[in-house]
Amino acid sequence: MDLQVENVAKSWGEIQVLYDLNFSLGENEILCILGPSGCGKTTILNLISGIIRPDAGSVRFSCEGKTGYVFQEPRLLPWKTVYDNIAFVLKHWMSQDELDKTVKGYIEMMELNQFKDAYPRQLSGGMKQRVSLARAFAYNPDLLLMDEPFKSLDLTLRFSLIKLLLKLWRSQPKSIVFVTHEVSEAILLGDRVCVLSSKPTYVKDCISIDIHQEEREISDPRLLMIEGKLYKLLAEE
């Protein structure tokens, strides 16, 4: 699914959050949106998902389709097991056999076999976020919005979840908008990285990364150069 965000503005009362915001997303592309804390990154995702409407400008999609969401917090139902949390978003439109196959497939892919009957309170933060990722991919959206999903995790866990996310994306390609304030996440994941200003927020620049995600290593000099560029863009007034 393609996405065009054109000249979008949004205010909350007196505060102008977004101003003349422009970016696009191509079919099966991962677009990372990088910006300082509090610049309105979540507002952008809420505009795309239709939870809120822009004051000016437009958000246009190339076709009708489903939108999935991975939130900052895993947002799992505490009274449901891992299996049932994933099944929860599928069972109203999927047959029982298909649902069982789909849920079990994602549980296996996310290496959660041992925990399929566990409740969220029995899982670590990383495991909970894996369930949240599995739920979003099992829903099979055309567009996946990810709102700093690895924010509360340590570096090692974050890199392992990035690998899992790429594994899911390769097995089921889809357009992803990944919002983050971590440069390392953006350069490991993004086909393109758009850098946001602070409020009122606009896109300072978008940088393409022409290295296949599978070949990316955080210590790769080419990536380090892009990382430097991104830091410079972030620091610019």
């Binding site: 489903k66 969401y69 939130f71 505490p78 009274w79 978003v89 109203h92």
Partner: protein, 250 residues
Amino acid sequence: MSNFSIRNNFRWIISVICGLILWNVLSMIYLEYVIPSPEATIKALLSLIASGQLFYFARITIGRAMAGFSLSFFIGGSMGLIMGLNDKVHDFLRPWVTFLQVSPTISWLLIAMIWFGLGDGVAVFIIFIATFPVMIINTIEGVRQVDPNLVQMAQTFEVPRSCLIREIYIPSILPYIMAGASIIMGMTWKAVAMAEVLGATTGIGAGMSWGRVNLETPEVFAWTLLLVTLGFVSEWLLIRPLQAKFSWWK
């Protein structure tokens, strides 16, 4: 058993013993028809058991209490859920809930006696009127406390509203519903006794009324003891197991 629960049980036993001692002392100061001794109360209780009246009246009162409690639990819980989910319904009905909450139960009792005559109808009606506003208010509060992030998650994944209510709202509000059930269970025993004192010729309340008329204060105390025991038993055998059952995931 952990040290904590041993210590708690010990305090509990000490508290009961202190209460019994105080009761005994007061019964020595006042005449028996004012405050009967624990011994006289137990004798009255045994005599009620021997005559078969205790079990007969207890069965009738328990039946009425459970009928009133169940009506209040299901109707109050459902109305609370609807009012919590829909602001228009809430705004329309809320003044009437407050009206029922603040209107004196004794007024309803007198009205119910005119409407239903003496018997089961009065007791069940009074329990319902006295308790169901509490059930409604507790359930509304539960709905208000549902995690908006979970609701937003379900809406983002286009989960139908019926499924949202069944799988997010109801499990979320169950702790509030069970807290409401615990409160109305206690209120039920008080309400049924009051209704039976004036509005029935059978049941524990009616037994109390006969005891008062005949100045058989030990009998009044014996019936009260039975009612309190029923209150504890219902809390331990019904409410607490249900509370544990509905919060297994916590």
